[in-house]
Amino acid sequence: MPLVKAAKLSPKIFHKDIAKIPTRNGFGEGLVLAGEADERVMVLCADLTESTRTEAFKRAFPDRFVQLGVSEQSLAAIAAGMALAGRIPFIASYACFSPGRNWEQIRTTACLQEVNVKIAGAHAGVSVGPDGATHQMLEDIALMRVLPNMIVLVPCDAIETRKAVLAAVQHEGPVYIRFAREKTPVFTTDKSPFAIGKAQILNTGSDVAIVACGPLVYEALLAAKELETHGVSAKVINCPSIKPLDEATLIAAAKQCGAVVTVEEAQAAGGLGGAMAELLGSNYPVPIERVGLEDTFGQSGTPDELLEHYKLTAPWIIKAAKRVIKRKLHLY
């Protein structure tokens, strides 16, 4: 499968021993780097220091780490007050609770006031596993995407998450970053490009464009590799910037391939799938198949079982790609 050189992907990308690290670790590393680079950066935590990986920041910058306890609504609004005072606060919790519980505070105090609050939503997606549906956030992309002034980032691996944190600090205004609990393959490198508003084409392909975000980008790559053996040329696009979307890249891919599959570990309605349907519906309509949660909650299970059960893995992406290509042929 012809990988795009400019994407600077890991040479071990399809090796069995590819490193696996949770994206949340990238968040923790990014915070420390951001704290070193900019004294305004603060971290506010709601009783989830270890699992949101904010401990290293706490150790490095105890004066700039603030523990609030289980109080997500004030977490957002207190952070906004700190941002009004010139700081750059990151608020870290599980995505179910922030932005799940404090959406109105985020809307009013971060977005309407257009201040520098950065929201880190951990434990997103069904791959949270045994904790079950209450703790598996699936609606956060939809919730954040509709807010004016909000940036929405869904990085694909630990390295990209680290870059997303640093980019969030550079961006003036509210940013939402989503990440996951489980270890997932690290297939980008320090040199892989990352920017807010940019999507990356990972491999060339012309029959179907697979647009994915988060750790499932790796499943999309596995699917494309398999599709190649079936004679199907699939282009994989890593789309970490859900808002703003890289419209030029995505529309060009739709024009070239004539069919699109979206892949995400979230409700497809309102998520990346919703965003792509809106973009292409208005600009260049092509058939779309959306791999994601289909208007359902998750449940307990192992991460692998759940990804399989909810049809989010490579075999299901392959099926979606074949379906959408058939629909494309029907048009002519």
């Binding site: 109080s71 004030s74 700190m82 005072a85």
Partner: protein, 294 residues
């Protein structure tokens, strides 16, 4: 290290009378503004007229010509629906021309129905959704403590909004960090949009609740400017805890047909008899204050 504290300037009798007259003039402009807008809240803004006058003309360390002066005291508003009193007090203080008051709630106006920080930065925060202002004031005060800043943080709140859980989250935080540079001012007028606070969701014993959260609690007559100024002075002198001033006010204060009437919570007087009789009453009060001065 506590920061260097300044107490407020002494409030002379002459200054007090001046503030009372100022409050009366502000009430009159407030009513005209509300009538012209044709919608908005009357009772709360009238009830807070004395406190806002005292804040802008005596308590706050601020400069209307430099609204973003870095050392200004920060005045947050948590119950955004009383914005008209803040706008009127700000116009009188010189933040913008009084003529702009007539644009309240109009398309393109900086004076939105609920105040917006991005349009008028001296507002400090955008306010409307109840409960969101007090935690922002807390966040600001926390940074002020970290930076040993010379400014003080005030936040005006309503009593009805205290039913919002976020208020008590913020109170826990303020108590934990002993935010002594923070003063919450609660408009205890006992009414909210659906009726009397103690019928809707009882708040008493309010004094004890805040004391239990680690606040110094001061209860005052919210129409007695001297009591309010003294409470602010005590708050600035308190280095151990945040302060809450429970200001007992009369909703609709100054206009007898509005006083204590929940019906006037959310509507303005109409052009004609309603407005004229209210203004007449306030002008009469003006005469009384002036005669006391002589």
């Amino acid at each position: 290290m506590p920061h260097v504290r300044q107490t407020l300037a002494p409030l002379t009798d002459a200054k007090l009378r001046k503030l009372e007259l100022q409050a009366n003039a502000i009430r009159q402009d407030l009513l005209k503004m509300l009538t012209q807008a044709g919608s908005g809240h009357s009772a709360g803004p009238l009830g807070m007229a004395d406190i806002f006058t005292a804040l802008y003309f005596h308590v706050l360390n601020h400069n209307p010509r430099k609204p973003e002066w870095s050392e200004r005291d920060r005045l947050f508003l948590s119950n955004g629906h009383i914005a008209p009193i803040r706008y009127t007090a700000m116009a009188h203080a010189g933040y913008f021309p009084k003529s702009e008051l007539s644009t309240l709630r109009q398309l393109g106006s900086r004076l939105q129905g609920h105040p917006e920080y991005r349009l008028l930065p001296a507002l400090e925060n955008t306010s409307g959704p109840l409960g969101d202002g007090s935690p922002q004031a807390v966040g600001m005060a926390y940074v002020g403590m970290l930076e040993k800043a010379p400014w003080h943080v005030y936040c005006c709140m309503s009593d009805g909004e205290l039913a919002a859980g976020i208020t008590w989250e913020a109170a826990l935080f303020a108590g934990k960090h002993k935010l002594h540079n923070l003063t919450w001012i609660i408009d205890r007028n006992n009414i909210q949009i659906d009726g009397y606070t103690e019928d809707i969701m009882p708040l008493e014993p309010l004094h004890d609740k805040f004391a239990a959260f680690g606040f110094t609690v001061l209860e005052i007559d919210g129409h007695n400017i001297r009591e309010f100024v003294e409470a602010c002075d005590r708050s600035k002198a308190t280095w151990e805890t945040p302060t809450v001033i429970i200001a007992h006010t009369i909703p609709g204060k100054g206009v007898s047909y509005m006083e204590f009437e929940p019906a006037w919570h959310g509507k303005p007087p109409q052009q004609g008899d309603e407005l004229n009789s209210a203004l007449k009453e306030l002008r009469t009060l003006n005469g009384k204050i002036q005669s006391e001065m002589e």
